[in-house]
């Protein structure tokens, strides 16, 4: 193809946007609306996922040290825990600190515990975090094997439930977003198909004038690309401004905080531009192919 021909295709693609004003508007709206919807759900799904990780991150293992150990034995236990695969963070909490924490929890009724000061019944403990919260159970079982450990607690009953729920939420989010992607594809593709159907006569005429298939396809491809690109501008602006507003006015939901603006919005924008451009091009090229058979 000559360069001048390629320039001609670009020019034609651009002109077709205005020549077929209403159809351009229809395709453009379809892209804008579906990408906006997709963007909102992407942000939502990502944040829900973040929430679930934050929630899981709260899960810690309390390793209670056996009563009456020597200092060097405590150090040995610390070494053992540190070397347990899957442990990412650990902290020694002596019984005095444990009591203080307990008192803080009871707030103004904390004085009731003052009697314990002289004879503290609490054991020393290590607070341990698993690198992957989902492996908390495995990690705690490994630590429990040490003879220096009295017992290990991580809230077995509710933690196992929690992981089931967070897993489900994440999977549901992923399936939902993928499903929405396909819906977006389908919606945009269908709109383009309808607008191109209205121009099938033109395609036929071009073929009868001796145009090759690619000579006809190029302007359509460029037109589709432009509609996809332009169509992703509004959703990106809306999402960016909206999310910024949300972050500035609402710090989070309950205990959770929202994912920061950067890089989330940039990735979502990139994804929307990519999807818009790709569907625009593919939708056009695939839709005209059946009218080229003449």
């Amino acid at each position: 193809m000559k360069i001048s021909t390629f320039r001609r295709h670009g020019r034609e693609g651009l002109k077709n946007l205005t020549r077929n004003g209403w159809m351009t508007f229809a395709s453009f709206s379809a892209v804008t609306v579906t990408l906006l919807l997709l963007g909102v759900f992407l942000l939502l799904a990502y944040n829900v996922q973040q929430f679930s990780y934050q929630l899981e991150d709260q899960v810690v293992i309390n390793v209670f040290v056996k009563e009456g150990l020597q200092k060097n034995e405590v150090i040995e236990l610390e070494r053992q825990i540190k070397n347990t695969p899957g442990v990412v963070e650990m902290k020694f909490v002596p019984k005095e600190t444990g009591l203080k924490d307990l008192k803080d929890k009871f707030k103004e009724n904390g004085e009731l515990l003052d009697v314990m000061e002289s004879n503290n019944p609490l054991p020393d403990k290590f607070v341990v975090k698993a690198s992957n919260p989902q492996e908390t159970k495995i990690v705690s079982q490994k630590i429990e094997q040490s003879p220096l450990v009295d017992k290990v607690k991580y809230g077995e009953d509710w933690v196992d439930q929690l992981f089931k729920v967070t897993d489900m939420v994440r999977n549901a989010g992923a399936i939902f977003v993928i499903g929405l992607c396909f819906t977006a594809l389908f919606l945009i593709n269908n709109t383009i198909k309808v607008t191109i159907f209205a121009r099938r006569k033109e395609i036929e005429i071009m073929k009868l004038c001796g145009a090759t298939n690619w000579f006809i396809r190029w302007p359509f491809l460029i037109e589709g690309l432009l509609i996809g690109l332009f169509g992703s501008i509004l959703p990106i602006l809306a999402l960016g401004i909206g999310y910024d507003y949300l972050l500035k006015n609402v710090s989070g939901v309950m205990l959770f905080s929202f994912a920061p603006f950067d890089p989330l919005i940039y990735s979502v924008s990139g994804l929307l531009i990519g999807i818009g451009a790709l569907i625009g091009m593919l939708g056009s090229v695939l839709s005209i192919s059946r009218f080229l058979r003449i």
Binding site: T5, L208, C209, A211, T212, F215
Partner: protein
């Protein structure tokens, strides 16, 4: 120029449009194809630029073996044949100039050459004043002249016309026929399907009559031969 050997065409719905047609049209001829509606005229015409493919038989147009032609060679063949339709088939969103230029753009002709050649053929069909008009702003006769200009612009050896005056009033029809006459005088072969009795009888050209999918009459300087 155009040769058909025992050509059969059966449509998927079972109707046999052509049943064993053989014909030879030489360079520079002007041939009318006449016959009742549904007799196979349109199919006969469409086979020549491969809008339809024959079920059986062989067709040669301008050196191309039409039924053996590979899909990607079809554009090459069509560029050497000008086709004119009853419904003009102009691109509605393009101006007169752009419509005619389109046939040159597809062969990637240089811009200057396109400009000169389009001006030349629009001059021939007397439409120089309407360069920037859209087809919808023109009369039927003017639109048909644009489509003739587009068919001519590549200097094809043959022009195939399917009832080009079918949508036009008698006076305009005569203008269009004069134009075809002029084009033929310059050496272009013309094959034209028509229902226009008066024109066929007056012009005294070769006439092919098709009935029930067969050529029933082939006359030099023939007449229309049917009551309208």
């Amino acid at each position: 120029m155009i040769e058909m050997h025992d050509v059969w065409k059966q449509y998927p719905n079972g109707s046999a449009a052509l049943q064993g047609v053989s014909v030879r049209i030489d360079k520079g001829e002007f041939v009318y194809v006449v016959g009742p509606s549904g007799a196979g005229k349109s199919t006969f015409i469409k086979l020549m630029y491969r809008e339809e493919r024959p079920t059986k038989g062989s067709i040669f147009v301008n050196g191309f073996n039409i039924e053996r032609l590979k899909e990607r060679k079809i554009p090459l063949m069509r560029r050497q044949i000008g086709v004119v339709f009853q419904d003009f088939k102009l691109l509605p969103n393009l101006t007169v100039y752009e419509n005619v230029a389109f046939a040159l753009e597809v062969i990637e002709a240089p811009k200057r050459k396109i400009k000169n050649r389009v001006a030349e053929v629009l001059n021939l069909v007397s439409l120089t004043e309407k360069l920037d008009a859209l087809p919808g702003q023109l009369s039927g006769g003017q639109q048909q002249r644009v489509s003739i200009a587009r068919a001519l612009v590549n200097s094809p050896a043959v022009i195939i016309a399917d009832e080009p005056t079918g949508n036009l009033d008698p006076e305009t029809s005569w203008e269009i026929m004069d134009l075809f006459e002029e084009i033929n005088r310059r050496g272009t072969t013309i094959v034209m399907a028509t229902h226009n009795k008066e024109i066929v009888n007056t012009m005294k050209k070769r006439v092919l009559a098709i009935e029930n999918g067969q050529i029933v009459r082939d006359q030099k300087r023939g007449v229309y031969g049917y009551e309208n």
